[in-house]
Amino acid sequence: MIDTGTFKPKTVYVIYIAATPEKVWQALTDPELSQRYFHGSRLEVEPKVGGSFAVRFPDGRLNVRGEVVEWSPPRRLATTWIVEWVPETGSPLSRGRADVMGPHRSAALIFSSDAEPGQSSFASSVLSGFSTVLRWTCRSSGS
């Protein structure tokens, strides 16, 4: 179990999104919605501290697994992050956190990780797609 008090992000990515924090939270935690911005991958989050967290490839294979460390809808989701397919002992345990800010119709999503920088293009790629999908779903749901 991770002591979140010692969480020291090395990578931080911020994106502002024209959607409510609730919508952003939904996209982070709904597997069906995540597939539409995560290049076909699914995010699976068990909604409680200590619950399981997984990212699955489009074919269903496990990509990343972890544990939910913080669960505070619609504001903060923190998980551990172990990349399954890295050979040998697997990737070092890292931690990722998503903070959703914003009281009104626009949200700021702050994605931080204690993994070394260099994965940041991954974060920007996913989150750029994320904001596009969110806008689309907000529009189609009439909000």
Binding site: I15, A18, M101, S106, I110, S128, T132, R135
Partner: protein
């Protein structure tokens, strides 16, 4: 090479061709619509100046353009002229635009800061807001509302602390 000098890197993917992203980054009439009212003109050649004017009409920047290769690469200096900004040596902003399938991968690199730069902290909060608004504007025609911006940036800073 010194690693203590801060460097800001931000990547965002925009569903618009590089030419449109370039125009938005360099033409004041477009920047005004998403850059929270600032008119940013950077459509000159290397050796010309980038100028930025605040919504109140005050000159906020007059910095040399170092490189201009439309619609791929733009480099200019960065020395804010507005009040209450620490007097630091000019830093440097680099925009790289890479096309793919009619979309753009935009990378912004802001570096050449003093080691203990205060301005670095300011731009680290500022670019994500400006570039998110740019993305929204080019994709939907609507920029982001700046009214929540300042408060959210403060809260973001606290969350990171």
């Amino acid at each position: 090479m010194s690693t203590s000098k801060p460097k800001f890197v931000y990547v965002t993917y925009i569903a618009a061709p590089p030419e449109r992203v370039w125009d938005a980054l360099t033409k004041a009439d477009i920047s005004e619509k998403y850059w929270f009212g600032y008119r940013v003109a950077a459509d000159g050649k290397a050796g010309d100046f980038m100028t930025a004017t605040s919504p109140a009409g005050k000159l906020a920047h007059r910095d040399p353009i170092v490189e201009s290769d439309p619609p791929r690469r733009l480099v200019y200096g960065w020395k804010p002229l507005y009040k209450d900004v620490p007097d630091e040596r000019p830093s440097r902003v680099t925009f790289e635009l890479k096309p793919f399938k009619g979309q753009t991968r935009l990378t912004v690199i802001h570096d050449e800061f003093d080691e203990d730069s205060k301005i670095f902290g300011m731009i680290s909060k500022g670019w994500p807001a400006v570039l998110s608004s740019l993305k929204s504007f080019l994709e939907t025609g609507r920029a982001l509302d700046p009214s929540w911006n300042e408060e959210e940036q403060k809260r973001g800073a606290e969350a990171d602390a």
